[in-house]
Each structure stands twice: as C-alpha cells, then as structure tokens.
Amino acid sequence: MTTDPEHAIDVENLTKRYGDLLAVNDISFHVRTGEVFAFLGPNGAGKTTTVEIIETIRTPTSGKVCLLGMDVTTRKRDIVPRIGVLPQGFSSFDRITVRETIQYYARLFSRRNIDVDGLIELANLKDKSQEQFKNLSGGLKQRLGIAIALVNDPEVVFLDEPTTGLDPRARREVWDVLLSLKKNGKTVFLTTHYMEEAELLADTVAIISKGKIVAMGSPDELIERNANYLVLTVKTSDGTPLDIIRRLGFEPVHDKHKNIKVRVEHPDDIQRILNALKDAGASSLSLDVRKPNLEAVFLKLTGEALREGSVEGVPE
C-alpha cells in the first residue's frame, strides 16, 4: 500500500474479529491531513474498535493501518507522542484538580514548557482550574479530556464520542471547543452517533453500520447523493388538504402532530401544492420546507435509526 503524504491516516482492508463476532468487516478509507473526519454510526457499529486500532491500543485481525505514514502495529512508540486521544468515557484521577491533571499528562509526554493556561482557556475551563476532577460535571470532564488530548501538541487528535451522555447545552459547549480546534487546522478523527455533530464539524463523514462503511463523503455530498429531495410540512385548519395534495400526484402523510408532510423532488412542486391549496380555499396556512439531514441519509442507507427515537416520521 502506498502512503500518500497528504494522508494522515490510511486504512486498508481492516478487519477485527472478537471470537465469532465480526466487529469491523474489511473497511478501507483514508483521512487527509488537516481535515475533520467523522465516523457516524450507532452503538456497536465498530467505531470505537476501529479508532482504538488506529490509536495503537488494539491490534487488528487483518488489514493494514498507517498513521502518519507509520504502521500502527509496529511503531507504537513513535506514533504515541504525535497523537492526542480523548477515549470513550474519558475519566481521570478523582482528587486531582483540572490544572494538576493537565500538568500530569504534560509530564507523561515529557513536555516542559506547555501552555497550561492556553489549554485551560481553549477548553473554557478558567473558572474551574482549581476544581478536583470528581466535582466536575460531565461536560466539563469532556472538555478537560479534550485539553489533555492536546498537551503534546499532537498532529492527529482522536475524539471518541466526545458528547455522548451530555445534555444539549453541555454538548454545544463541547462543540464550541471542537470548532476552535478545527480552526487551528488540526487533523481530527471524530466518532459520534449524533448527526448534528458530524454535520457541524466534519469535512468528511463515513457512515458505518455493522462493521461496514456504507457511504463516505462531505455532509452535503452525502445528502445530495442519498436524499436529494425536500420535505414540505403544511399546517392548516380547514379543507381537505390531504386529498388535494394527493390529487396532484404526491404521497402526503400525517405526522404525530396532525401536520401534513410531503416529500417533493423539486422546489417548483412546492409552488404547485401551495397554489392548489389556495384555490381550494385553505386558510391559516403555515408551512415549513426542509432539506433532509444525515439522519435521513443514515436511515435510507442502513434501514436503522442512529439512536432510539431519533427519527421523526419522514415520508419515503
């Protein structure tokens, strides 16, 4: 396999088996230097297994994985100082403060003059720098984990489900930190099962399901390719809009709020539907047009939801 200097990570025919379970099934992909690459998939899809193989803490059953041009199975010692990792379910020493924890990890990497304050600022932890780890909330712990992943000024940063288990506000605060990381031009390998996260942060998204990559590309490309339609939501109090729309040749459905959802291929169709409704005398009309998101792409490609209850009835 050729290692392209433009590629931070090269994975070729990677397979990982745990006994009878095929966790990763012959996948190949590459991550370009400087991009944010997201592995999007539900729990148990093989995201963490893949990322831990690339991080050198698991061994592959077969296939070849190169990180910064080095084989991960033989060059652990050379690779480790050049990567930063936020492992899944990150945790640290309970009684050690934020500042001390960063200093501790800096010493493990034998970094003398690291900018502890800069990292604390980046992770937005200034008020909490003297707080012990056990007293931090979930979001603060994750932000500290991200700061620690950066102590050795790594060339590639791995973030394994950085926002799982956080409430929406804490998630947004972590995203703020990740966006400033992206601005700094680091190569980031992100795994997530939140499509908003992938859409917001990633340059390239690989959708993984049951150990296989089912689609890969930028979020826009993926949507363009797999869900090139619009969803029109109509809310009206009178008339028989369902029948009217149906007569135009569409397949409208009621969602759980009694709104009508229609999938349309072309923006002109929206005008046609609206005119037909107006002619029929429908009043107090409110409407909403949406492009489908990665969630819909995922659903279409795999037939399963990313998370339980995450998909609202989108007409097919």
């Binding site: 831990e52 010692r77 945790s91 010493r107 493990l108 034998s110």
Partner: protein, 380 residues
C-alpha cells in the same frame, strides 16, 4: 523506565492520598488505634494486682521475717508455696507470672554475715562475704513482672544497706519460664506493621488495576508514552512510601505511649520492601481474576482477613490448635510476622535471614506473575 514519569505518578498518588481522608484514616490512623486499644487492654490487665508467690525453702524465722518485710514494703499480696512443690511447675499450672524462691541456708548465711552471738550482732565474728541468692521464676511475657521485680529489688536493697560490708548480702538469680522476654505490646506491634503494609499494598494494587481500569483511566494512559513497567514501578514505589510512613507512625506511637523495647534495624526495611512486592503481586493477579472493582475489593478482603487472624498478627500461634498452626505456615504474612519479630524483638539475624529468604522467593514469584497478568492496552 522514565524517572520523570514515575515522579509525575508519585505526585498524583500522594496528592490523592493526602486529599482522601478515609484512605488516610485506614492506612495510618487505624493501625495506630489498634495498637493503642490492644496495648491499653493488656497493660491494664497486667496491672490489676501485685500478686507475689513466695517459696521459702529455708523455713526459718529469719526467712519468714524477710517475707514479712517484702509484704509490707512492696504492698504485695503474698501467697506462699510449700517447699516440697516444684515452683516452676506451680507457676506454669497456676498461671503465676512471678515466684520468688528463698533458698535453704538463708538463716545460716544471715547469722554468719552478721556474726550473731546470742542474738547480738558482733562485727568481729561476721563474715562479710556470706550471702544468699534468691531466684525469680518469671514469665517475661507479662508486663507486670518487671515492675514487681523492681519493687522486690528495692526491698532487698534496704536489707542489704542494713548490713555492713561491700558485697550485697542478698543476690538475685533469674529463671525465665518462657524463652522470650517481651511484653504483649512488643509482640503486637510487629504484627500490626505487617498487617497494615499488607492491606495498603493489596488495596493499592486493586485500586490501580481494577478501579482505574474500570473508570477508563488506564485506557487513556495507554495512549500516552507511559509504559506498563513505569506504571507498575510508580505504584510499587508509592506503596513503599506509604508503608514506611505508616510504620513510622506506628513505631512513634508505640515508643511514646508504651515505651516498647523494639529494635529498628535494616531488616525492617527489607521486610517492608518484600511485603510490598509480595502483596502488590497478589493484588495484580487478583485483579486479573476479578476484574470488576467491587469483586476485586471483595476478593482482596477475602484474602486479607483470614490471613490477619491465622498468621499470628494479633496473638501467638501457640494459642491456636495444631491444624491452624499448619495453615499459618503456608501463609505469606506468617513469615513477615515472624521475620519482623525475629529482627525487632529477639534481634536474631539468622532467623530474620531465613524468613526474609522465604518471603523473598514468594515475592519474586507472585510479582513476576502479577506483572505478566497485568494488561496495559485493550488486548488482542
């Protein structure tokens, strides 16, 4: 091996220790409380009364007067033993910790020394070298014995002062019923040291392997340059520092409160090092078998508690039935207990060497096994 990395780990461990009050309590305060409580219980028991058994082999007026004098001066409650009885046997059977034996010929020597003529002392006829030797048959394990002997001595000193001439009239000889001359507290303290080093090493190993792994700290560490060797060495070093700290605290309290007569020499350090490796190794093996933090802690307790009671930490092995003594001899803690006592109480270097060799071989075996069973990365 990186000194910088080990140093960083030590800082984190010691900070955690100093901030975790319950750990501090169980590591340092708990053994000290044990020493204070048990030391006081047995000290008081020894002090309840000053019983003194006297065997008068002379059976004369003079010897009877001496007994009377001792009774009055020393405030002893005196029990007399018939001259035909084997005093040593008697002491053992009746659990008497001190028998004073007045030899036959006491009155004759008394008369010769004073040169008594018709009941009146006459220095011209006195033999200044005439003397008698009283014998103490005693149990060195009882702490009141030495106090009683002190009181008896001052009584004899009064008698001797009343005699002219240099050599004392009443001389003393000692016969110990037990080979060891130590008090309960002196027996107890080495056992407590061995126990607390065991508990802190074992629970330290469980913490590092099971709890930190379960929390995911080890997974994070395995993505940094720290090696498994550095990690294990840091932890062993930390356990050793804790063990020394704890031992010092126990010794200081024991010296200050009970004035124990224990010798602190290089063997103490040798046994602490070996014990830290032995129980650190056991802990590592244990966490491989029981990898969940709770089950590992339970397994550690399952090993520690029987070991504490069966290996003679708190009371002499002789008090236990024979089959339990056999069990004790296969427990590693037994050899630490015996080794510490050999060096601290009896200052018996040969015995200390023998015990350290046994525990040393054991420590090497379990520690090597422990290192090899400790997982560092996420496995195959």
């Amino acid at each position: 091996m990186s000194r910088r990395v080990i140093g960083a780990n030590l800082v984190v461990s010691l900070k955690t220790f100093s901030r975790e009050k319950s750990v501090m309590f169980f590591t340092v305060a708990f053994p000290i409380i044990l020493v204070l409580v048990f030391g006081t219980i047995f000290l008081n028991q020894d002090n309840v009364s000053f019983d003194l058994s006297v065997q008068d082999l002379d059976q004369t007026n003079s010897s009877a007067r001496l007994v009377k004098t001792l009774e009055l001066n020393g405030k002893f409650k005196i029990t007399t033993i018939g001259p035909a009885i084997d005093a040593r046997r008697y002491a053992q059977d009746k659990k008497v910790n001190l028998v004073l034996v007045i030899p036959s010929g006491y009155e004759k020597a008394f008369v010769r020394r004073l040169g008594l003529v018709g009941g009146v002392p006459n220095a011209a006829f006195g033999d200044p070298n005439a003397s008698v030797t009283v014998t103490y048959i005693y149990d060195g394990g009882a702490s009141s014995t030495s106090t009683k002997i002190q009181i008896l001595r001052s009584g004899f000193a009064v008698v001797n002062q009343g005699m002219s001439g240099r050599p004392p009239f009443i001389r003393e000889a000692e016969t110990s019923m037990l080979t060891a001359k130590y008090r309960f507290i002196e027996f107890f303290v080495p056992g407590i040291i061995a126990m607390s080093v065991m508990t802190s090493s074992l629970s330290g190993a469980v913490n590092m392997n099971a709890e930190l792994r379960q929390k995911g700290v080890i997974r994070k560490l395995s993505t940094t340059p720290i090696t498994r060797t550095d990690w294990i060495l840091s932890n062993i070093l930390y356990q050793f520092i804790l063990a020394v700290l704890c031992t010092m605290a126990i010794l200081v309290v024991s010296y200050a409160v009970f004035s124990v007569r224990l010798q602190v020499n290089a063997w103490l350090l040798v046994f602490i090092v070996l014990e830290v490796f032995a129980f650190g190794g056991i802990g590592m093996i244990l966490t491989r078998v029981a990898s969940e933090a709770e089950s590992a802690t339970a397994a550690a307790n399952f090993i520690m508690f029987p070991m504490m009671f069966l290996s003679g930490s708190f009371f002499p092995l002789e008090m236990m039935p024979g089959f339990l003594q056999t069990i004790a001899r296969i427990l590693p803690l037994y050899y630490v207990n015996e080794g510490l006592r050999a060096s601290m109480i009896f200052v018996d270097h040969t015995a200390a060497l023998r015990y350290s060799a046994i525990i040393g071989v054991f420590a090497i075996v379990v520690f090597v096994l422990g290192i090899n069973t400790t997982r560092w990365d996420e496995g195959k």
